[in-house]
Amino acid sequence: MRPLDWVVLGGTLTAIVLYGLYKGRGSDTMNKYLLAGRTMPWYAMALSIMATQASAITFISTTGQAYVDGMRFVQFYFGMPIAMVILSATAVPLFHRANVYTAYEFLEKRFDTKTRALASIVFLIQRGLAVGLSLYAPAIVLAVIFGWPDRITTLVMGALITIYTVTGGIKAVTWTDVQQMIIILCGLIVAFFMIVHMLPRGISFTDALYLAGATGKLNAVDLKFDLDNRYNLWSGLIGGCFLALSYFGCDQSQVQRYLTGKSIAQSKLSLLFTATAKIPMQFLILFVGAMVFVFFLFERPPLLFQSVAMHDLQSPGLREQFAPIGRRFEQAFEQRKQAALGMAEARRSRDAGKRATSLAQYLVAQEQINDLRASGAKLYEQASGEKGFNDTNYIFLSFVTRYLPAGVVGLLIAVIFAAAMSSSSGEVNSLATVTVIDVYRRHVRPDATDRHYLWVSRLATAFWASYAVFFAQYAKKLGSLIEAVNLLGSLFYGSLLGVFVLAFWFRRVTGTGAFIGMLVGEAAIFAAFSFTSISFLWYNVIGCVVVIATGVAVSWMRPGPRTA
């Protein structure tokens, strides 16, 4: 990081906090603090929804994923517009008219206290486990790239979000999300044009597309149906739709965004705008990753992008074993570079024979490079004892720090901070809301004054922000448990979705039916996770279907009084 980068980063973070403090003024009642007095316009809610969803690790990791695996991850978002249409037509009017602060408050109006309590607890566990990781994950990547102590990074990010989230509530969170989303988009566009500009002379943008496409990096759509394949059109449309329904319809960190709308129409527009903007945005992020791949066709990349791993491989103990892999990697890189140049030249001269020869050489060299990267990773795993080594998260930042000019590096690091802060602030705010509304006001102090609840809301926000920082400080000690924690989060959505589907569309289902359905649905998801190899996107479908079937069956066997 050069002085100009520090100026850009410091200036951006200061601007975010000051803007949050400015926009959060006047949050002096519980309604204004938790729901912005229901005054938000659609565009602010839409950008806030997108910013809360886009965490720093998504931004860092997605570009790397395109480098390694191509653009097929974009299919993960294909179900989102369908989900947004369903939610706009159903959940949004119901939530608004029920006059609720949280999605789980609605469950008590529809079913009973125990169903609301169970859903709130599921949310608090799931989101509580995730909130610290939103801060920790980018901090650990920045620690490897820059050597910054991850504890200091998480502390700085946590302190910054605490300042504006505690004082300004959801108004501050939403408007800073808007600002952060604009920073993220600007950073992405700048990165894209810089990469294209840095391609070698003689390699046009169209050449770059063909070179990326030849190795499958532009594989945006895969029509083949396969339950074990995480990303194809069908898992994206069906599994992605269920996941988006769960996330945007049952997760308070998202529901709270559109509950702040001026009207039902404004809330609907915010979801529909998100539905249309999200896929092109993810496409752009992945496309940047594919272009980084093309850039490294002509500029030799490290064998592994994680500098600590490369340092270890070149240490005296491993040097001898690593040397032949390194030499073969250099040769393979040169062969791939020459073949890529040959392909570009043949494409322009329309020489089909030369093109076919170059393509064959190019693919062979690429295969060699993939094998050598795998050999390097295996050697590092054997030496370090680390299992499942993956350097995807380091690819984009390695490129940024080594090749981009002063100022742009600062802007892109600011993007990572902005993405981490926007996700964390939304999560902290929603956790505080559920704690106050579904736990404190419902079970501890049901008849206190508005001023009392306002201060408890501020205290709860400060508590969850501190908890996030504290959890992030100790996340390193969790080691591989972090993956388990991430997975654990994805295990809860299906049953939450099922109970909301029962609430919206199954008028004869009773509270007891919904409650038992949720428990059985959760058991089914854990069984699918433990005993099958089904991709996690399908857990939401399984959980939702089991909750509905059980809820309907129990209500049929033990009918109760019909509810509205």
């Binding site: 063909y210 990326a212 496409g213 499958g216 594989n219 945006a220 759509v221 009207s263 529909l272």
Partner: protein, 45 residues
């Protein structure tokens, strides 16, 4: 803010006049995007 939110009206959208038309437009947009991405995949693969 209306005092009785249970009666909150569902206002028409600012364009295309009815919500079902807006929903249809979003779904047509999705289908077009998938078709475009498919052509993109095939063209450069």
């Amino acid at each position: 803010m209306p005092t009785d939110r249970a009666q909150l009206p569902d206002e028409p959208p600012p364009f295309l006049r009815t919500w079902p038309r807006v929903y249809a437009a979003v779904l047509i947009y999705l289908a077009s995007l998938i078709a475009l991405f498919y052509v993109f995949t095939r063209m450069f693969s």
